[in-house]
Symmetry: C2
Subunit: 354 residues, 2 copies
């Protein structure tokens, strides 16, 4: 009796970041965009024919794939779409990493990589970032079962030059190299131009950050037809219809409005730079950010203490109790008004300090 | 060079059923509901605040889970929600079936079961339905690594009495038993009342059929807290946020409107019975259906030929070129008007026959 417990899969539960719900809160903890999605999204939602929900969506999410193909100038067959970039990356791990050799990704990077590796039984090794939190490209010039690089990296916010990315891809043509570009629109150099040259390269992006659509769950990957085809073969063996009808229609609107996209991106970059300057003046070390967040550390006050003090004021930032980065906070770039209040509270905290 | 191809996962691509797009078509091939979702769904969509899409949805899809918990009188911790019941079943396979022993499901059943088993490397055996396409419960009274029963079964449409389901669950308390109730609302007896008694039982249902929401991709499972907790541990190790904001809000509306749910269900059952009677009069064998589709066979005209003739008239039904059922068609129950046209075309086909 009850032996079924011994047959089920045991995983260490991944605990998602907190999603606090206070009316007066300033939410700078999950790298969401402070601006609403493109105006066309609201229009499409309001005018949506609910009657169409009775039918299955197109399994290939055709309209969305076509919009992305036009925007990024690739063939529709080179685009994989999924339920947020986590779904896309998870499917990519499941599809691309099944070999005997270890896959490689940095010791400090997106915390989901080891979780997927463990879930799917993929061995991995994590070369350490250097003392400035930079990825050492040479660490990836060794035999491996695959490579995953977040560029810009998280939570460090630091981007790697495209030439270095290309060198990694070029030297690893016998493995799939995944470049996770969740934050690339805020200042990184995308590896998309390399996709035509290297059929082992998979570039993953998301609508959750630069396109203000975290709530809609849309991510995508661009790669060679062969690689994307392999991912769809696995995906269709799991769930043929993952993109629901609203996500397909609203996703198209978000892609089409390039002016709004550029405008909100620029606003965030401006706010980021101003916030970084102010934080430096307040004695913070601020890593050079190419993302929509800052990774910061202070000499006098510990990250954990500052995290707690901000939390009391309903300002939520992200603290990772992990080796090497336990004295850093990851702070999402919000609106100018939000960052103003954030900075005021920081000043107050520092003034309180002995 | 190009050795990455040897490292990736090879699967036989699962080909989703066709989704034809003709203005005049009658679509009876994917068991969709012919009626729109509950009126509240359209209202919620039209009034949705697109600005909220910038934020991640609640990872636990709280409002939707609470609505289901209230409707089915279980604790929220006993409910798992996913992107259609395919996502829920896929996660259930990944979570529950990892043992050394073969899992069991019928030879003729939902065609995704062997696909998931192969994707996740789960061994399986498929006891044959009897000559009347009934599941022989005794086939499941043997040591196994898990059991999956669709009830009503697909594509046969036949329901198994709850007492037999209970006997299978009762005799297999050392395995997880999944009862896939995608079609149960149209006439089957749900195993939900057994969930309190057996902690190895997982009941899976969907919004795609009886709740007219195939386009929104919502499925759910109900089971013991322990089993549901194990599923969330795996799910959260894959993707923390699978349910997007519109699906959570619209799902709640679909669950709340019990009167509409009962009314559309009753309409479909009435149409089903009338259609079945007419088909019998036309010389068809019609299996006793407890679902929103009919599984039918004719002595004079082959299923493949009839499928082709209906297709020419833009009437789409489902034909499975598989042993034992290659002379059957699966016909979704549409509106009375749709079934009238379907029957007229059938009559014309039969009249044309020598």
């Amino acid at each position: 009796m009850g032996e079924w417990r011994k047959k089920i899969r045991e995983v260490t539960p991944y605990v998602p970041g907190e999603q606090p719900q206070f009316a007066d809160m300033i939410k700078l903890n999950t790298n969401e965009n402070p601006y609403p999605p493109a105006p066309g999204v609201a229009k499409v939602l309001a005018g949506m024919d609910a009657g169409k929900l009775k039918l299955y969506p197109k399994p290939d999410a055709r309209e969305l794939v076509d919009a992305l193909a036009a925007e990024y100038r690739v063939a529709p067959e080179q685009i994989f779409v999924g339920v947020g970039s986590d779904d896309v990356l998870g499917m990519a791990f499941l599809t691309c990493f099944t070999g005997e050799k270890e896959i490689l990704f940095p010791d400090i990077t997106y915390s989901f990589y080891p979780v997927w590796a463990e879930l799917f039984g993929i061995r991995y090794r994590t070369p350490a970032l250097d003392e400035n939190f930079l990825i050492r490209k040479e660490d990836y010039f060794v035999p491996n079962g695959g490579i995953v690089i977040a560029n810009p990296n998280a939570p460090t916010s630091i981007a790697m030059p495209l030439a270095d990315i290309e060198e990694i891809v070029e030297k690893n043509q016998d493995s799939v190299v995944i470049i996770d570009e969740a934050y690339v629109d805020f200042g990184g150099e995308s590896a998309l131009p390399l996709v035509e040259k290297y059929d082992n390269l998979l570039v993953v992006q998301t609508f959750s950050k630069s396109r203000s659509m975290a709530g809609m769950r849309i991510g995508f990957a661009i790669g060679s037809r062969e690689l994307i085809g392999a991912m769809y073969a696995v995906r269709n063996s799991y769930n043929s219809y993952t993109m629901n009808y609203p996500s397909i229609l609203c996703g198209v609107e978000a892609v089409k409005d390039r002016a709004y996209f550029e405008q909100t991106k620029a606003a965030i970059v401006t706010t980021r730079e101003k916030t970084a300057d102010r934080l430096c003046e307040l004695g913070f070390t601020v890593l050079p950010s190419a993302a929509n967040f800052l990774f910061v550390s202070h000499k006098r006050i510990s990250a954990e203490e500052l995290f707690g003090k901000l939390r009391e004021k309903h300002i939520f930032v992200r603290f990772f109790k992990k080796p090497r980065i336990q004295n850093y906070l990851r702070v999402t770039v919000g609106t100018p008004e939000e960052m103003e209040r954030f900075l005021k509270e920081i000043e107050a905290c520092l003034a309180d300090m002995p």
